[in-house]
Subunit: 468 residues, 3 copies
């Protein structure tokens, strides 16, 4: 009886646990089962959504704006290549001088295999028009600038090639780099061809190999397309870069040079068009700003024949057979503190027998852009630019200086994200002037070549600029 009473007492005690055990815990387990199966499904769905979303990318660069001069008409002829030396590729600081509505939009398709290999396909749609109007068909320059595919992580690639990327098609070379503030690449290698990146020659030494073709025109009488074939080896050894390009353009001398009205222009033609060329670059990529926190790049470029176009490697067919050129550059970017950022840049070039026998061109540009942040979204941006030119086209010569000063109140999404954070929405006022000696000089010897005109102009700008 005692035992029975005890059992009953226990029965009264136990239900709270045994009921948990028998039904509630089973219920919890069922809910956990359900959660596990739903989560597994949702993980799949998330993976699929991620894959779908990341199979497409949309990136690029754009700027769009309005330029007004102190005469209340549109400013013409301005831009980073506005000086007489601009025809030689000599840039000045771009801030406040650009009137173009310019776009580089990349549409990218990615494909990934489970073994880690992947394919990437890229289109670049580009345009550049000066008109402020919203329907610009008549001056549209829309075109496809890049169109290529590349593979990464191919399991068949091993040893030195294990981490290589192979590509073919039309593209800008991956390792091009630029001084953004002067709108000038240091090297701009581009065209249609094929190549391989990141061949690991030693632990420290990575090399790229490529062949690019470019078109110089056609010789109609012969039914021949004159092309320039550029073979490049590009080496990275720690912070050092050594890039060597050789090029070959058979029958380039037969090309007839035409003026902007598509008429034969014998004056403008090189004395004897080069049919081969060599181009070299040594560069030092420093992860300090000349010793301080920041970054900087310094180097020298050398070229002869078709290689004497030092920036756009192999892109200019109208170079003299014995053209030679050397260019030096150094630039850096540093965020000094939460308020001030600076980006000085220097570039100078000497070239000789470039287009005509006995021509001789010297120029050097110094540019300084400074950002002074006031709030999370507002900064004053300043730019000063100076260029010295001593130009002799073998017929005529001129020398003198160009200078520009710009102040630009600027809105950014985040000033603390640094100098390169974009979009920027800016208003800018610039003053530009130059030596009178330069006013009527042109590098080209063709009749009617455009000259610098007169300096001493104030220019107002409204502009957006973005990387996206």
């Amino acid at each position: 009886m005692k035992a029975k009473a005890l059992t009953l007492a226990l029965a009264a005690l136990l239900p709270t646990t045994s009921v948990w055990a028998a039904s509630d815990i089973s219920a919890l387990e069922a809910r956990i089962n359900d959660l596990e199966s739903r989560l597994a499904q949702n993980e799949q769905a998330t993976k699929k959504a991620e894959d779908t979303a990341s199979s497409f990318e949309f990136h690029g660069y754009a700027r769009s704006g309005l330029l007004i001069n102190d005469n209340r008409t549109g400013a013409t002829g301005t831009g980073p290549y506005m000086t007489a030396a601009g025809d030689l590729g000599a840039p000045v600081g771009r801030l406040g001088l650009e009137d173009t509505n310019y776009l580089e939009a990349n549409f990218i398709h990615n494909r990934q295999l489970d073994n880690g290999s992947s394919a990437m396909f890229k289109i670049m749609l580009a345009d550049g028009v000066e008109s402020s109007n919203d329907w610009t068909e008549d001056e549209s320059e829309l075109n496809i600038r890049q169109l290529y595919a590349q593979f990464n992580g191919l399991p068949s690639f091993s040893g030195a090639f294990a981490n290589s990327t192979v590509w073919a098609g039309k593209r800008f070379d991956r390792d091009n780099f630029d001084i953004h503030f002067m709108d000038s690449d240091i090297v701009f290698l581009a065209g249609t061809g094929a190549g391989i990146y990141d061949v690991q020659l030693t632990d420290d030494w990575k090399a790229n190999f490529s062949i690019y073709g470019r078109d110089f025109g056609s010789v109609e009488s012969a039914g021949t397309d004159i092309e320039n074939y550029i073979a490049t080896m590009n080496n990275h050894i720690g912070p050092w870069q050594f890039m060597l390009s050789v090029m070959d353009s058979k029958d380039n001398q037969q090309i007839v040079v035409k003026d902007s009205d598509d008429k034969v222009d014998a004056n403008a033609k090189a004395t004897r068009r080069a049919e081969s060329g060599v181009h070299a670059m040594f560069a030092y990529h420093n992860d300090t700003f000349y010793g301080m926190k920041g970054s900087s790049k310094t180097g020298i470029l050398l070229g002869s024949g078709l290689g004497a176009q030092l920036k756009g490697i192999g892109s200019d067919g109208n170079l003299n057979n014995d053209a030679k050129a050397v260019r030096v550059f150094s630039y850096g970017v540093a965020d000094l503190n939460s308020t001030w950022s600076v980006a000085p840049a220097f570039m100078a070039e000497y070239s000789k027998d470039r287009i005509k026998d006995n021509d001789e061109f010297k120029w050097g540009t110094f540019n300084l852009r400074v950002q002074q942040s006031f709030t999370e979204n507002f900064a004053m941006v300043y730019e000063g630019s100076y260029q010295y030119m001593d130009l002799d086209n073998s017929v005529d010569s001129a020398k003198g200086s160009y200078y520009k000063a710009t102040i630009a109140p600027t809105l950014k999404l985040s000033t603390v994200a640094g100098f390169f954070d974009r979009p920027e929405l800016r208003f800018a006022v610039s003053y530009v002037d130059w030596s009178n000696d330069l006013d009527n000089f042109a590098v080209s010897t063709s009749t009617g070549a455009t000259t610098m005109g007169n300096g001493g102009e104030t220019i107002f700008a409204l502009q957006m600029e973005t990387f996206f």
Copy 2:
């Protein structure tokens, strides 16, 4: 012994609970731990997939179709601006008249910071060709119509600016609005510039400020780009809108007007091209359809000089110095019941000394589109359009009427989603006719200007139209 037996009995009773407690519940806990960590990961992944997916947007408007006249050839010269007054911006109902393959595709890149501020970058790629063929390079009008960036929710903006949007670049103004059924904006402010939206002046009063530039052409002898600068203040006070624009285009009188063959056409030039202008609009945005359920908009536009182009503000450089114009409009949309929807629209304009001294133009259009839904996917759409014109270009004059009647069996994804739900796939039959007096009249006084030709034509159409 009893106790022992009891303990054993209990031992037999308890295991189901104590085993639950000791191992099963721990197992459940482990599974919950696992679920929690997997779910946390998946939430991150979902967030990332969402961010990736929503960083890109693809939107726009397009129509594409085929027009066949009662002579079994392609209909030419048709469209909402087909009448003699069309050159003045006088539209008629568009249904069944459009032969163009027209596209406005927006590619949008969004960037969002955790503090709630965001940047948006937009490209609009646009085209319009009549050809039904599938390779239209020769008549392609592909161009970039918009290219701008804007910021929202900048933390540095406070007070009246707290909810403002700032932008720069080339764009259509955000607050443009249109009578879709006549393919006519009420105002279409567009160009390249910068501005700010939604400055909160009082609790009820929001204002936008902007400067847009537009190009009128160049004076080659002077190396000058003639631009028109438009400063606009656009005010919303409750349902009321007041928009004021002033514009300035120095040296616009020096522009030479050319005909379609790019030859100088002195006849077509305004007597004395305006170099400034004023434009104003008062509008009432009603959230009822003239008192019933629906919506409607009513207003008046006034302009002088360069402001006399009342729709495309500041877009027409060939206006007379003392041009003046006034336009009134009213239109609305109402879903009367599940079957019937109606959209009446009225627009009329009077302008004087518009292009030549002493010219005088009057026109008024009434349009009615009606949708009769039969099933979830099928509707009959009807449109009647009437336009009265009394036109005197200072040399010649004509007056009379245009009318059009259209019936269009239409497929929609969902007729219940309303009048504006798209895509629509439609077949349409239209009859158009007009007064004989209008046949040979042109607003332009230049030799060889296109006229209306003869009326009395039946037109068959196959078309898709979509907003996306």
Copy 3:
């Protein structure tokens, strides 16, 4: 007392379970509650991310490459339509012959309703340029080749229409198919119009109905657009396909034919341009490779008048009134084993009174592409191509053979994914030659028509090709 002791003993035993029960299990339940609500939220977010991601699609086809001939200049005039019969649509194998940078990029917007119905909107942006340069505005052919919308699963559609797709706009017909290796469609029906796919006439019989319009040009004196209207019924009965098209192009005889300089070229005009036409295709879609594992397609096409352009249905307006043509084709693809894949193709055509009275054209092409896989990523691809021509343009005649042999070391993301897996990055060497008799012959009788020139050329290629 015993009972008390026992109870205490039990109390010592029970806590581990009753504590679980009272607090830990509640805690677990709370965590499960939390998990359930978070997972529900995340499922929603995942659904939204999926919907956002899948509302946009980016697909297409592209190739880009460089062609160098054995003279170290750009190869000109090469391509799958390089032979004298190419003007008649006679292709040869494409591998190693293509110099164009060609793009078809589709931007697709999807919209899905919960009832299962959906709308799809598609743009195709296309370009084709030969230049290897990276800025090709002067020869850009960018244009919108497709622009249409279609509906699927409309609830109002039932019976035979229950699974139908309806569409309108500018498009390539869905059921076009091609011999990829010769860059030739079997039928390429395209233009602007409307239609319906997959009307289920019987259990085995599905039919498509469509009307496409195409432009042949304009008669300026009459202000008339000459269009060709093509009505097509396309039937699938099991593996059999029967496609019938009739076409009507009023006033097509009035069209004036112009040469490439836009000058009237009476020589090139058909004797009497056809104003109507009939086109038929019978095809057998076999899911075996002539009995073995793989696939193949075989058929015959017949046409008269405007239907005598057998591939591009209704696309050629310059056909003779009594033109007649017949074409046969057979091709297949088979992966024989893990190493070898083969794709033979045969196409031949006979046409008469095609452009001029009494002209007569016969040609036949046999092409064989073979893939030999070496690793997961590397294959050798071989192609041999032979074409026989017997061509009489009523003024002049020529007959003879063309042959090509190509070997192409090729990189693929996965060779095991088969013949059509892309991208491919390839190097190719081809040798092409033909009978001397063909050198100076052209199908066109217009003065200055392009001829084949001389054969016997080795061509080197670097190329990427992708479907994406």
